[in-house]
């Protein structure tokens, strides 16, 4: 059992001028193995901070994360990460990017090559192994990033706005790919997004975060991801239920934004 448990996680940044930013306040939740979680919230509410702490890049100033039986204390291959953009190694080819993790582990070369083939096929990039990554389109680059993360077989996959820089069509395709991978591999996936629709589609569970201080505001359990695995995305989006949840969340976020603006004006 490798569930992700957040236990009263707090993160307070000290700015160079000495000010304090309470980026996360008393964040507690449990993410069960195999769950698909999407996180939504206005800009600056601490989503990236949350993810960076789970990935182990930052240590929280209070509380702790547990994955399975141990506390998270640093980056590790058990937690894979997919970034928005620019995190591919452009000096390497597609295949070299994908097998980077295995090469770092000095894994068996033949085995590695076979796995790379397999993963390139899953993400729909067969035959692109020898292409330099800087020649790929944005959507293709994100597929490589996905494959690079997944080939390491992590227990938990963290994605920070992975589809944020893609056009609508590519984005839709990538959403199906994420759902497909989730279903086929049964991995725990935590995905941060700015798009309410995406959050609804790619979240079995959905956290809406609120800013200042960054905290979990509301949690939803949603049926759309499960449906989306084999169903038609467009139908789901057009359903009345989807529209209703979407409006609810949008209003919530709008209210938060307005509150922020109000606070800013008052200040």
């Amino acid at each position: 059992m490798s569930d992700l448990i957040a236990d009263k996680v707090n993160m307070v940044f000290t700015t160079p001028t000495g000010g304090k930013v309470h980026a996360l306040k008393d964040v507690s939740f449990t993410l069960k193995e195999g769950e698909l979680l999407s996180v939504l919230g206005p800009s600056g509410c601490g989503k990236t901070t949350l993810l960076n702490i789970i990935a182990g890049f930052n240590r929280p100033t209070g509380g702790a994360f547990y994955l399975g039986d141990h506390e998270i204390s640093g980056p590790d291959t058990e937690r894979g990460m997919v970034f928005q953009q620019g995190a591919l190694f452009e000096w390497l080819t597609v295949a070299e990017n994908v097998n980077f993790g295995l090469r770092m582990k000095k894994a068996n070369k033949k085995e590695t090559a076979r796995k790379v083939e397999e993963w390139l096929e899953i993400v729909g990039l067969q035959g692109f192994g020898d292409t330099p990554t800087y020649q790929l389109s944005g959507g293709m680059q994100q597929r490589v990033a996905l494959a690079r993360c997944l080939i390491n077989d992590p227990d938990l996959i963290l994605m920070d706005e992975p589809l944020g820089a893609l056009d609508a069509l590519t984005r839709e395709k990538m959403q199906s790919l994420v759902l497909k991978i989730w279903k086929e591999t049964g991995k725990t996936i935590m995905i941060i997004t700015h798009s309410v629709e995406e959050a609804l589609l790619l979240g079995e569970r959905l956290f809406v975060m609120a800013p200042r201080p960054g905290r979990l505001h509301k949690e939803y359990r949603l049926p759309f991801a499960e449906k989306g695995v084999d169903g038609d995305m467009r139908d789901i989006k057009n359903s009345a239920e989807f529209a209703q949840v979407r409006e609810e969340i949008l209003t919530m976020i709008w209210d938060m934004e307005e509150e922020i603006m109000g606070k800013a004006e008052a200040a």
């Binding site: 890049f57 620019g86 190694f89 452009e90 000096w91 993790g101 770092m104 800087y134 690079r148 993360c149």
Partner: protein, 630 residues
């Protein structure tokens, strides 16, 4: 001849490419975007225009083109220059090349001296009234003697006759020069000798001095006559007759002035100084170079006639001088003629090429070394160079000793020592050598060590607070110092051999490499490092697999810059000290004022610099094609 054709061809190329460029420009009219980067791609016709223009200018201003079209011109102009040179002593006395008559200048100068004397005398309070009156009278006499020289009233009739004689002789020379027959048939032996001279620029003599053509012979002969006239003119002095009487009386009077006698030392010294000054001015006046202008007018007129005649006799030569030899002319010296102006300091391309081929010939080279050649070297010698001798000392045991029979029993230690010293038979292999190679090797060695130490330190500084904080001030402190400022110190410490120069270049390259590697390392996108971390890379792996390749564009750009700076520093350092290298060659040539070798070395350096840069650009394109696309 080849140069002549080349010149026309290059000129045609310039004109053609300009017209072609204009035609292409017209087709580009549809492109209304001014800042369009497409336009920065240039066009090869503009390359042709640029290169050809430079070559045309070079050929023209070095007089190479002129020489090829008018190979005789220099020899003829040399004869003209000889005439001008021989006429100079007379001309200098008249306002022809100067503003004033020489007599006017002398009167002004000596008059000023006399005025100063008057002032001084008035201030000489030490002297008695009698002394002052006498000295004042002497000075007044001196002034009147000087002024008398300018007056036709006092002139000695013989002097007047001599001056008229000079004017006549100059006029006769003008008449002779206008005559086609002058100076009569050539002496065949003399002519043969003249025609056997090496041509213009073929030897160090540069310009053949003996007249080879009819026109040349005319000027040559005239110059000899003019020389005699000038000599006679120089002997004429306006200090005879009535002037002599005045001068003698003056001399007697001031020599009779009592310096010693009945006074203290200060007064004696004052008198002595004044009389010495009077004597000085007297000698100038006695020189007799002041004449009444009305008397010398004829000589002046004769000179003007001669100048007009010789100019018209030059004919086309004057046009050739103006057009084919721009920025200067040919002048005559004591023993030879030489080019003056751009023809002198801008070597002709054809001569430069000849010098280059001569220096490139391994049998000739420069100062005991070829420019770039190879020599067969035993392979063992190379091992000797790279393996330090003390390696053998590290082997346990003792070096072999000979036994009582004089036999030596070799052991391992001895064998290793032999290898380290290159003391064993080995095949010969060709190894490059020469000035260019030496320079190249120094630059590459300096660069190599600069990269070897600079890149790791730079990366460390980009990654660690300690390294950044500790080394940054040190490097920033020594980096802005011009490398050559270190040179005297380093050459003293390391000696003038390669070590010092390599260390100097190392310092230059090191700072550049540190800074570029640091920039590269700090420029690594954090998400790349995050990604590498969560893919399980260790610290070392992140440095080697992520930060180093990510810094590669900056590092390679740094190398490119470092090569350029090292190359410049090296040449300057080689000029300071050493016995080989391209900078050494230039320095020796500089001391010998051998402009052709100087230009040759400049061209070699330019080409090598270009080669390095093209090479680096190629390497950059090959190794970091992703640059700017990440």
């Amino acid at each position: 001849m080849i140069i002549g054709i080349l010149f026309i061809a290059l000129l045609a190329a310039v004109i053609w490419s300009i017209f072609h460029g204009r035609k292409v420009l017209r087709t580009e009219k549809s492109d209304a975007v001014f800042g369009n980067p497409e336009r920065a791609l240039g066009g090869w016709h503009w390359v042709v225009a640029g290169v050809s223009s430079v070559m045309v200018l070079w050929l023209y201003f070095s007089w190479d083109a002129g020489r090829s079209y008018f190979p005789q011109a220099a020899n003829e102009m040399c004869q003209v220059a000889k005439l001008n040179r021989s006429a100079n002593p007379i001309r200098a006395a008249f306002p022809l090349d100067n503003r004033q008559l020489r007599g006017t200048q002398l009167l002004q100068r000596d008059g000023l001296q006399i005025a100063l004397m008057n002032q001084r005398l008035a201030a000489a309070e030490l002297l008695s009234e009698a002394d002052r009156t006498e000295l004042q009278a002497i000075i007044n006499d001196m002034e009147s003697a000087m002024n008398a020289q300018a007056s036709p009233e006092f002139i000695d009739p013989t002097i007047e006759g001599q001056l008229n004689g000079i004017a006549d002789r100059i006029n006769q020379l003008s008449d002779k020069m206008a005559d086609d027959a002058y100076p009569g048939p050539a002496d065949p032996a003399q002519m043969e000798k003249a025609l056997a001279q090496p041509g213009w620029g073929e030897t160090n003599v540069e310009i053949p001095p003996l007249a080879e053509t009819e026109r040349g012979r005319k000027f040559d002969a005239a110059s000899l006559e003019m020389e005699a006239i000038a000599k006679d003119f120089g002997k004429i002095r306006n200090n005879t007759g009535a002037i002599k009487a005045k001068l003698d009386a003056l001399k007697e009077r001031y020599e009779g002035f009592a310096i010693e006698g009945g006074a203290d030392a200060a007064v004696v010294a004052e008198r002595k100084a004044l009389i010495r000054q009077i004597d000085k001015i007297y000698k100038r006046i006695d020189d007799g170079k002041i004449f009444p202008p009305s008397i010398t007018q004829q000589v002046e007129d004769a000179l003007i006639t001669l100048d007009d005649t010789q100019k018209s006799q030059q004919g086309t030569l004057r046009i050739i001088d103006a057009l084919a030899m721009p920025g200067g002319t040919i002048i005559a010296g004591n023993s030879a003629c030489s080019e003056q102006g751009s023809g002198r300091w801008l070597p002709k391309p054809s001569d430069t090429w000849k010098t280059l081929t001569r220096l490139a010939d391994p049998d000739i080279g420069f100062k005991d070394a070829p420019l770039l050649w190879y020599k067969m070297t035993p392979l063992a010698g190379i091992a000797d160079y790279f393996v330090p001798d003390w390696v053998a000392d590290l082997i346990p045991g003792e070096y072999p000793r000979h036994d009582d029979n004089g036999q030596i029993q070799m052991n391992l230690k001895g064998e290793v020592y032999n290898i380290a010293t290159g003391n064993y038979p080995s095949p010969m292999i060709p190894v490059p050598m020469g000035h260019v190679w030496d320079s190249l090797l120094r630059v590459l060695a300096g660069l190599f060590f600069g990269i070897l130490f600079g890149v790791p330190l730079g990366l460390a500084m980009g990654l660690s607070r300690f390294f950044k904080g500790f080394f940054d001030p040190l490097i920033e402190l020594y980096r802005p110092i011009p490398p050559l400022a270190w040179a005297p110190l380093i050459l003293t410490i390391f000696g003038i051999q390669d070590d010092g120069k390599i260390f100097l270049l190392f310092m230059v390259a090191f700072a550049i490499m540190v800074i570029s590697a640091r920039t590269g390392a700090t420029g690594t996108h954090l998400s790349k490092i995050h990604a590498a971390h969560s893919l399980g890379a260790s610290k070392g792996q992140i440095i080697r697999r992520v930060i180093l390749p990510n810094s590669l564009p900056e590092i390679l750009t740094g190398i490119r810059i470092a090569i350029g700076v090292c190359w410049g520093t090296l040449v300057a350092a080689e000029m300071l000290a050493g016995t080989t290298g391209i900078g050494f060659v230039e320095n020796v040539a500089r001391k010998q004022s051998d402009y052709e070798i100087i230009w040759t070395t400049i061209i070699i350096m330019g080409l090598l610099g270009l080669l390095f840069d093209v090479l680096m650009r190629w390497v950059i394109n090959k190794t970091i094609p992703w640059r700017g696309k990440g």
